[in-house]
């Protein structure tokens, strides 16, 4: 396929957290707000006068200083974020809008709060409590938390307008980003997709780490470009897979999977678009903040949810994603030391093949991959096993 016009530009934006668009927004007087988790609604951080940056630590392969603070037995992602912070990579931040939604990223954010790491005298950290259940009580609690620990904090520290009107404007802009990403992502459903998993991964990531108002023109142009993009005459993949799992902001991992012959057609992982890019709907009689609180709790598929029906629903949802995207298999990946996904991956690897007939490959990896050889072998073996199943199925 012909290269996407902005792909190299997008790739460059992912080289560091303080990328060109972040610098531009800062120079225009906007406040940069860091966050790590889907449970921190990015739409609230993209109010007029500020912008959200979902933190990454690209190319951090050896977080030595952070390992002193958080030991070598915690998630590499959390440690890499702390390492990057200690290196000065997040000094552009004006605040960290934190959640205690997984232990190690919480610890990272607590270090930001406790230690004088971010060289910005106005910098502050605000923690939001996120419920474990999608009940009315949970939604109401989340709304109050967002009001107290996000909106009120932004208003009091930086004078950000947090009125309903301002929230509605942010939702509108957010929904446009979602629509564009969904338009782009839907090409993955084609029999011969006109976008690769890697390309989509890059595009989804830039939409998370750049100021929305600055990345939007590029997304619009890319969506337009894809309307006429011609696929390769013959598909150059052997199987289609859904990539699910824990935190994954490394497009090179997707590239690795695809280089083995498995086209990644759906991204059901933290930093992915499923969920993440569903437009926010304000129902009749609902205040914008209520809609936001409800939206983020209802759309989340995080293994953190504890209700019985939700635990089971997650498997069905994953199976449905495989069906919708015509996937031949599922690759579930967790970062080493991620407790949520260690368990979720284990149970997925049992339930998805057994109850839904979805061939599943279960992998554990580091945040930034050094062990590509081993992973390549595992993925190639999985692809072969799926192909063999297809052949055997055909013979019957």
């Amino acid at each position: 396929m012909r290269d996407l016009k902005h792909l190299i530009f997008f790739e460059n934006l992912l080289q560091e957290a303080n990328n060109d668009l972040v610098k531009q927004a800062k120079s225009e007087g906007k406040k940069a707000l860091g966050y790590t988790c889907y449970f921190m609604p990015e739409v609230l951080l993209d109010l007029e006068g500020c912008f959200g940056v979902r933190l990454r630590a690209p190319a951090c392969t050896s977080p030595d200083m952070a390992t002193y603070y958080m030991s070598g037995r915690t998630c590499h992602y959390g440690r890499s974020l702390l390492e990057r912070a200690l290196e000065g990579g997040y000094n552009f931040l004006d605040a960290q809008m934190a959640t205690e939604t997984c232990t190690v990223t919480c610890r990272f954010q607590e270090h930001l709060d406790r230690m004088d790491i971010i060289q910005n005298p106005d910098f502050f950290v605000s923690f939001t409590d996120v419920p474990f259940k999608k009940t009315e009580n949970g939604i109401d609690h989340f709304k109050k938390q967002l009001q107290a620990h996000v909106l009120d904090e932004l208003n009091s520290h930086y004078g950000i307008d947090t009125s309903d009107k301002a929230l509605e404007a942010a939702i509108k802009e957010h929904n446009e980003v979602c629509d564009l990403i969904n338009q782009i992502g839907d090409y993955r459903k084609l029999d011969n997709p006109t976008i690769t998993g890697y390309e989509f991964h890059v595009i989804q990531l830039v939409s998370l780490v750049c100021p929305k108002y600055l990345i939007l023109p590029y997304l619009r142009e890319t969506a337009e470009e894809l309307k006429t993009r011609e696929p390769d005459p013959t598909p150059n993949f052997r199987i289609r897979v859904v990539l699910a799992g824990s935190e994954n902001d490394d497009p090179d991992f997707t590239k690795l999977v695809e280089s083995c012959g498995a086209l990644v057609v759906a991204d059901r992982y933290c930093y992915g678009s499923i969920p993440g890019r569903e437009p926010i709907e304000i129902k009749d009689g609902e205040k914008p903040l209520e809609a936001i609180a409800r939206h983020y709790l209802e759309t989340s598929c995080c293994p953190r949810w504890m209700m019985k029906d939700e635990m089971r629903e997650r498997k069905l949802r994953l199976a449905n994603i495989c069906k919708d995207y015509k996937a031949d298999g599922l690759i579930v990946v967790s970062n080493k030391f991620c407790e949520y996904w260690s368990y979720e991956r284990t149970i997925d690897a049992i339930i998805l093949p057994r109850d839904f007939g979805v061939p599943t490959c279960s992998l554990e990896k580091e945040y930034i991959n050094a062990a590509t050889g081993q992973l390549r072998t595992r993925i190639q073996a999985f692809i072969e096993s799926v192909e063999i199943k297809t052949i055997q199925g055909g013979a019957k």
């Binding site: 030991s71 919480c106 609690h141 504890m306 407790e339 284990t346």
Partner: protein, 534 residues
């Protein structure tokens, strides 16, 4: 040969601490005694009659009292954890009470007795209601029992205390067994990993899950309450347990993470209300708040006595309860909730405590350092503090788990007030208030060191606890800045294969020799092989 007066003294009082040579009593590897420790005439007789014989007798009597020997035999045959941990109980007493004399021996042993009784109460109740060993029958006991994760404080069920029994799922099969027979749990950890779980998540959660994988959990209740305490691993293991629990109605009662926030209190209180509605819907029984208040008042009595104990421990040398008895008894009763055995025990211990204060009895005269133990302890070596005192004179005064539920609950008839207090109590659970919760609570260590007059920290280093590993460096920084002697004790909670008891002892020995430049009180305890010991 020593003179007759000296021999008579030794006969009556036992050898002085420095000449006990306790390590020479062990048979190699097993930790079993070649012969019993001579603690002096009175204490040896007390130990044999009032601890050994009495507790063996009571263990049999309790079985009859709470359900009968047939039920017990069926349970022991069906469930590995029961068969493997019932008989070694007195060895668990021996390990924890080694070297103790006089009032310390008595007070600590009463704590052990209470825990043994409570354990038998629980597993017999499980077995009587168990579908698996009662011919597949869902009997009345099964219908009137609520199962919950061991980290759910049972006080949330007090409104039904007169009609429903509650039994924590993992407290006996997992938690107690780790202390009594540390081999048993390994089987469950391996089972969890056999279905694909990696080895690095918290081994407590792995073991809890392994009970379900191996179908070694009695089916004793129609409904289940789960929790997220203490960590991500607990949440995640609930998911796997759910798949094994089948269609049983399950209510998740999470402990909010940021529990200092008043908004969070409100949410947690609402969750408890929802739980009450769930229980009512499932059982058809309405909550009785008079019963709840009575139970809470009794529980508050336990808390008030705990504060008396802490007061003595903090401000004198007369506290008779040793480190392991303090830690295990406190966590057991405060987590389990109200039960008559705790009051009976406290009444006995109160007399001993008052005697120690009145007569200025120092039960630990060879104390060199007053130690506070922080973070989560190694379950397979909870008696390390007994060893550390005997070997080095390290006297563990207090530990983090004891300090968790540090509150009374209002029980004056205003349900809303009570609910807010219950929410807070529920949130201040073991491993949560300090280990995996708001970071600043972890650093309350410095305040507690001062309050309990401690000069040394035994810093538990649970290698697979992400919450505590995530603050490792900050503690290092603080220890250096405050010039505090802290010994990091690596361990893997229930899994002795990661760091053995022997390795733990070696780490303490190294610190005491090289950093503290001290010599052991009893060198026979420095190194010995107890790898096959229970």
């Amino acid at each position: 040969m020593k003179n007759p007066i000296e021999l008579a003294k030794r006969f009556w009082y036992g050898p002085p601490h420095e000449e006990r040579r306790i390590g020479e009593l062990y048979k190699d590897k097993t930790g079993l005694y070649k012969h019993r420790e001579w603690r002096g005439f009175r204490d040896t007789m007390y130990y044999f009659n009032k601890i050994w014989c009495y507790n063996y007798g009571m263990m049999v009597a309790d079985i009859f009292k709470y359900g009968g020997v047939v039920t017990f035999a069926k349970g022991a045959w069906r469930y590995r954890w029961l068969g493997q941990t019932y008989l070694p109980v007195l060895h668990w007493f021996d390990r924890g009470l080694e070297g103790l004399r006089g009032e310390a021996l008595k007070a600590s042993a009463w704590h052990y007795r209470a825990m043994t009784n409570m354990t038998i109460q629980q597993f017999m109740a499980m077995l009587k209601a168990d579908v698996n060993i009662n011919g597949g029958e869902h009997n009345e006991l099964w219908k009137n029992t609520v199962a919950h994760k061991e980290t759910v404080w049972a006080g949330v069920l007090y409104p039904w205390a007169d009609r429903l029994n509650h039994i924590p799922m993992e407290m006996i099969p997992y938690f107690v067994t780790c202390h009594v027979n540390n081999h048993t749990v390994l089987n469950y950890i391996d089972a969890a990993q056999s279905i694909g779980l990696p080895g690095d998540p918290c081994p407590m959660c792995q073991a809890e899950e392994g009970l379900f994988v191996l179908d070694d959990m009695p089916d004793y209740a129609p409904i289940v309450i789960t929790s997220n305490e203490a960590c991500d691993g607990s949440v995640a293991s609930t998911v796997i347990q759910d798949w094994y629990l089948g269609d049983k109605p399950l209510f998740a009662l999470p402990q909010p993470m940021l529990f200092d926030d008043p908004l969070v209190q409100e949410n947690c209180a609402n969750d408890i209300r929802e739980l009450w509605k769930f229980i009512e819907d499932q059982t058809g029984m309405k909550p009785n708040f008079d019963v709840m208040n009575e139970m809470l008042k009794k529980q508050n009595e336990l808390q008030r006595f705990e504060w008396e104990k802490w007061d003595v421990a903090a401000n004198s040398n007369y506290y008779p309860i040793n480190g392991v008895a303090q830690a295990l008894y406190r966590i057991y009763y405060s987590q389990y909730g109200e039960n008559e055995i705790w009051h009976q025990t406290d009444a006995k211990v109160k007399k001993i405590l008052e005697k120690c204060v009145r007569e200025k009895i120092n039960s630990y005269p060879n104390t060199r350092h007053r130690v506070i133990a922080w973070s989560c302890a190694p379950l397979y070596f909870s008696n390390w503090c007994t060893w550390a005192y005997n070997c080095w004179g390290l006297n563990t005064i207090m530990n983090m788990d004891s300090l968790m539920f540090d509150m009374e609950i209002r029980a004056d008839g205003n349900v809303d007030d009570t609910l807010m207090d219950m929410a807070l109590y529920h949130e201040w659970a073991p491993m949560r208030r300090m280990a995996v919760g708001g970071m600043h609570h972890i650093f309350e260590l410095w305040d507690y060191m001062e309050r309990f007059n401690c000069d040394m920290v035994m810093m538990y280093d649970q290698l697979q606890c992400k919450g505590m590993q995530g603050v490792h460096g900050l503690f290092e920084d603080e220890f250096r800045a405050r010039n505090i002697h802290a010994i990091w004790m690596p361990h893997a909670l229930p899994d002795k294969r990661v760091v053995s008891r022997s390795e733990i002892r070696a780490i303490v020995n190294d610190y005491m020799f090289t950093v503290m430049q001290e010599e052991p009180l009893d060198p026979s305890l420095l190194e010995f092989d107890d790898s096959q010991s229970w």
